[in-house]
């Protein structure tokens, strides 16, 4: 068999893993409680992912060895794949139906003929079972087990020095932001300048929250980085001027609202929304 064919089979194989079951609406249900056993803190290691890697290695191992004509290892990987697939099917009772043991066994039998075409064809049936579960569950699992909860992060308001939940803090930040814009709109520049001081220190306090989830400082270049500094400097300049320039003021407000608030919401808040919905059940 030509290596181009093998390659295209590989593509098909990978395609099945990624292919959503069918184009239809997506429903994000909270993953079953029994899955928690395989993630920290209940488990010391992320056991579910480790299991996925095992299956994926044996699945891929069959094809790599078929290509290299190392048939002894083709058989080994085929047997191991069935074994791990069965084991996985017993891990989360609620998900039993995603698995098709017969498809796994049929694939192993086809692989053992050492005929690439037969193996490729039989892989489709098995690959589909992987793909269906991924399409329906993977995002939910990411949200539940890889996105920490914002609500559990406590923030100390630098103004009042009171400690509060992240969502309440956001409301505070949002209202002091409005203090800046509303006063400016009314021509009350002194009040706007004062509100800016409060708002800036509250906004900068957000910088302290990044390290609750991130372990590199690089991320602070975003949302709370240079763009925000520039915008704050621009705002202060206008408010300290004899005659503030509204054009420049609103441009900097726009910059702050977009890079400082909106971009962080687009990346982080989506997951927070989903978790919150589940928690309200």
């Amino acid at each position: 068999m030509s290596s181009a064919r093998i390659f295209s089979l590989f593509i098909i194989f990978i395609f099945f893993l990624a292919l959503p079951a069918q184009a239809k609406d997506m429903i994000l249900k909270e993953p079953p409680q029994s899955l928690s056993k395989y993630y920290p803190p209940e488990s010391k290691e992320p056991k579910w992912i480790q299991q996925m890697h095992k299956m994926s290695t044996h699945f891929g191992g069959v094809f790599v060895n078929l290509k290299e004509k190392d048939f002894e290892n083709v058989d080994k990987h085929a047997d191991k794949l069935v074994e791990e697939y069965k084991k996985t099917s017993e891990m989360v009772p609620e998900w039993e139906e995603y698995f098709d043991i017969k498809a796994a066994e049929a694939f192993a039998a086809a692989a053992k003929t050492h005929d690439m075409a037969k193996a490729g064809k039989a892989s489709g049936g098995l690959g589909k079972t992987c793909g269906k579960c991924h399409a329906e569950q993977e995002v939910a699992v990411w949200t539940r087990f890889h996105w920490p909860s914002f609500r559990k992060i406590k923030v100390t308001d630098p103004i009042s020095e009171k400690e509060m939940g992240f969502d309440d803090y956001m409301s505070q930040v949002s209202s002091s932001f409005k203090g800046v814009t509303v006063n400016f709109g009314e021509g009350q520049y002194d009040r706007s300048a004062k509100a800016l001081k409060t708002f800036k220190s509250q906004f900068m306090e957000l910088k302290s929250t990044c390290s609750k989830c991130h372990t590199t400082d690089d991320v602070k270049r975003f949302y709370v980085g240079e763009d925000a500094d520039t915008a704050f400097a621009g705002l202060a300049k206008e408010l300290n001027a004899e005659k503030p320039n509204p054009g420049k003021f609103w441009k900097n407000i726009g910059l702050l609202g977009k890079t400082g608030c909106k971009h962080c919401h687009l990346t982080h808040r989506t997951y927070s929304f989903i978790r919150e919905t589940w928690e309200q059940k």
Binding site: P148, M204, K207, S208, C213
Partner: protein, 325 residues
């Protein structure tokens, strides 16, 4: 000869042999340990010491070091309440590596699976390649050792204190982390008889991993009233990393300024947060300036500097000063 005399002679002889034996052992262990054959050492080795035992096991001999470590933050890096809260009940995977390290080797460690309650413990820091690594070339009958110069270098601490290490390196100061945070005293490495007598005294680094104190000598202030402005500057004069410094913790210094008028009434106030997470901590030997506009007549400014560690909400006063125009 009387029986009692003979017995006495015998005892004296045994005593002489014993003293000579101890002297020879002392000489061998402290001066010429390379003469001791490996096969002789094999007889006294305690194999379980190489099976990553808990810290308590090391304390059977290294009692003083153990007790010092027990008082350090390292010993509670996994059970610390503030850590458990920040890591969402230890579910954030990114947060495990440095708080329950398998083995420290100059790079970010990987998390270990066993004895997690011991946090950053003896085995994490000393057990590398089947031997107890440390600063000395010596012989320890119970376990193999290896002299590793890394132990007196800042890079060792930098495996986990990555940001602090970077800050320290940029200052170019020679004092290492160990110089300040593990001050040495002449003492014994072990407290178990007879090992404690057979080994000479050596320099022992404090395993309390002292936090470090701040006072007026460390953070200098200059301030003046000038044309409706109050100018103030702070200088970290002595600490060759930012003050405060942190990796994932959030220690802070709060600067409070209260402006009073001639009647002693407060007319205004200001506050600054100096914190590594907000990138506002005080760099080494570089002045940081603040400027406040005054709207009312001011007769004095009261300035208070308070410190809050990463693991507590309590703030302690570093100093308090009053400035008059």
């Amino acid at each position: 000869m009387k029986l009692s005399t003979r017995l006495l002679n015998l005892l004296t002889a045994i005593g002489c042999f014993a003293i000579a034996g101890i002297a020879v052992a002392y000489f061998l262990i402290n001066e010429k340990f390379e003469w001791i054959p490996e096969s002789a050492l094999e007889l006294v080795r305690e194999k379980e010491l190489l099976e990553r035992p808990d810290a308590k096991r090391c304390s059977e001999c290294h009692k003083d070091i153990y007790e010092a470590w027990k008082e350090s933050r390292h010993s509670i890096s996994w059970i610390s309440k503030t850590y458990i809260e920040a890591s969402e009940n230890r579910s954030k995977e990114k947060c495990l590596a440095c708080h329950i390290p398998e083995s420290v080797t100059g790079e970010k460690p990987s998390p270990r699976l066993d004895r997690r309650d011991d946090g950053i413990y003896c085995v994490s820091c000393h057990f590398v390649n089947g031997k107890m690594n440390g600063p000395y070339d010596l012989v320890a009958p119970p376990h193999p050792t290896h002299r590793n110069p890394d132990y007196v270098n800042s890079r060792f601490c930098g495996s986990c204190h990555q940001k602090t290490f970077k800050e320290w390196k940029e200052t170019g100061v020679e004092d290492t982390c160990q110089n300040c945070h593990m001050p040495r005293t002449k003492d014994r490495l072990t407290q178990k008889f007879p090992l404690s007598l057979l080994h000479k005294q050596k320099w022992v680094g404090s395993h309390k991993f002292l936090h470090g104190d701040l006072s007026e000598k460390d953070i200098l202030m200059e301030a003046e009233f000038k044309n409706n402005f109050f100018n103030l500057s702070l200088l970290n004069k002595t600490v060759p990393h930012k003050v405060p410094t942190a990796d994932n913790g959030d220690p802070r210094i709060y600067l409070y300024i209260t402006f009073l008028n001639a009647a002693g009434e407060q007319v205004d106030q200001a506050k600054e947060i100096l914190a590594p997470q907000q990138e506002t901590a005080l760099p080494f030997n570089k002045e940081v300036r603040f400027r406040y506009r005054l709207f009312d007549p001011v007769a004095q400014a009261i300035i208070v500097l308070k410190y809050q560690p990463a693991w507590s909400k309590e703030r302690v006063v570093i100093w308090e000063k009053i400035i008059r125009p």
